[in-house]
């Protein structure tokens, strides 16, 4: 096998990884702070993709309308997240996990059909923004500019998120809420507001990654339930609720998938689920997570 081929496989794995990080980071944040496993996260991702397509059509079918369209789509999804959290989810915090799981699953069903109703079942595509057309040769591998952009964005969001969580006042509040909600509440902090904010940020990230995926893969019904399982694998490997864990989890997932295809072509799917199971058996809280009560 030529080195350039391996390298291009590596770059492909990195692109997948950074995409997954964009999606899974929101899932992990919500679990870390609110202890809710959000099945609807994949649906938010799907809505981001459909809305981006819709916004591009509304704004101007020119190639540059992609950027505002992506931002508008992500913001709309964030708004939807806030509505869902404020009106419905908050009443389930005291209930058993089962009810929260089923609530988010109800959202999966409803949003999936709503998308079918609004946009039909045909495949939709969005063209790549003109600025990022073309590609660059790195070590013999052809890397599209757009993939490069995704990798850099993933890295930027990882570093930015880490700075915010560890350095800022809001980040301290979020971390405190994930450690001991009752204590934070007793100290007079607005825990409800923190929860709503976290859910908004998480939905924004889901919507944004959905919007950003449109130039490289087409929008289809069913992309919601497919992506959510992958996002689960990533957060489980890294550690439910751990921010950097999610980052490393995405890298491991992306690379296992892209090299697994070379070694066992038909069992790469199997290998990532097996990896998830092994991590859960050996270290349920993941590589970088911490055990929860």
């Amino acid at each position: 096998m030529a080195a350039s081929f391996l390298f291009s496989q590596f770059v492909g794995g990195l692109t997948t990884a950074m995409f997954l990080f964009l999606i899974a980071s929101g899932l992990s944040l919500v679990f870390g702070v609110m202890r809710v496993i959000n099945f609807a996260h994949g649906s938010f991702y799907m809505l981001g993709a459909y809305l981006a397509w819709q916004m591009v059509r509304w704004l101007h079918p020119s190639a540059e309308s992609f950027w505002p369209a992506a931002l508008l789509a992500a913001s709309s999804v964030a708004l939807l997240g806030v509505i869902v959290e404020r009106l419905l989810l908050r009443f389930l915090y005291g209930r058993e996990e089962l009810y929260q799981l089923l609530f988010t699953y109800a959202l999966v069903l409803i949003l999936g059909d709503a998308a079918k109703f609004a946009w039909g079942t045909a495949q939709l595509t969005v063209s790549r923004p003109a600025v990022l057309n073309g590609s660059i040769d790195i070590l013999g591998a052809t890397v599209p500019y757009y993939n490069l952009f995704i990798m850099l964005l993933g890295l930027a969001i990882a570093l930015g998120g880490w700075r915010l969580l560890s350095g800022s006042g809001a980040g301290r509040m979020v971390r405190a809420a994930s450690y001991d909600r009752e204590m934070l509440d007793a100290l007079g902090a607005n825990v409800g507001g923190i929860y709503t904010g976290m859910f908004a940020v998480s939905s924004f990230l889901a919507g944004l990654s959905g919007a950003l995926v449109t130039p490289i893969s087409s929008i289809v019904p069913g992309m919601d339930v497919e992506i959510i399982v992958q996002a689960f694998i990533v957060v489980v490997i890294g550690g439910l609720g751990s921010f950097w864990g999610t980052f490393w989890g995405s890298l491991i997932y992306g690379l296992v998938l892209s090299f697994g295809i070379l070694i066992f072509p038909s069992f790469s799917l199997f290998s990532v689920f097996a990896l998830m199971a092994v991590i859960l058996i050996v270290r349920p809280w993941g590589l970088l997570g911490r055990p929860i009560r």
Binding site: I37, L101, L102, A106, L109, I110, L269, M276, P284
Partner: protein
Amino acid sequence: MSGADIALSRRVAWPLWRRIPWTLIVFLLAAMVPFLGSRYDTFLGTQIAIEALFAVSLNLLLGTTGLVSFGHVAYFGIGAYACGILMKTYDVSFWIAFPAAGLAGALGALIFGFFCVRLSKIYFAMLTLAFSQIVWAICFKWNDVTGGDQGLPDIPYPDLDWLSAIPGFGDSSIGDRFYILTLVLVALSLAVVWKITRSPFGRMLTTIRDNPERAAFIGLNVRAYELAAFVVAGIFAGFAGALFGIFNRGVFADYVFWPKSAEVMIMTILGGMNYFWGPPVGAFALVWLNQEITDYTEYWPFVLGAILLVLLYAFPGGIVGGLVSGFRHLRHQLTARRA
């Protein structure tokens, strides 16, 4: 206390409705469906019976033991593939393939459950999901054995010609005969599960659900009991899967995909997971509703999601839970008026 009072209190303890053998009546009514209803009713009846068994097997974990399994479809799928492969590829009789499906489900549950019961709550749910996705990936990709994404079409019906010896079955269709077979097997399975939940073993499972620390404290091997429950649930899920593969004229990888686990869970909760008859009622309601609603709209998942929301916020006890509390309320008011 006067004699009349004692007679009254006896009547309250064993009221008339308790002395009627409801289970038998429901079974006999169900057995009449091929004679009274249309072919389509028989078709729906078969599906309801199979889904009811599947949901009851899940409820052994969910309601009885308090284990939230998000991958129960794995054992259903293992049973379906085991029975399908034996009957189609190896031409084995149904009477061997069916028990083999239960055994396969039990074996899968034993291997996966061994690891799952070591985890608590959310991690347990995640690991059951991971295992079921492993089963799905295998079914989806192992072309030589499972047919891969093409699945295993045309699984033969079991040979039920001997049923025509029974009066009234002389000219029944194979669909009717398979329905009767399904009904009998499901009824027997439900009777066994009923016995299990009422046995000392079943009581221990409920103790573990209510207070695992205390159960461990009084010397119970909690993990072993949970594993045993997991295996028993796997057997009956395997049975249900075997019947479903034949009913559906084929086994496909889609059955094992994770949303199916959510579906059976919704069925269980819809009926009421705190009652033995909750899951069968939920299966009946969901299959029937699905059939009614798909006449009007293709957006069945939307309706299902809406039902689930109403259920979670307004009727967490499910249909049976709602009926029981409504009935209690009514009786309370009646006795209050009498007093």
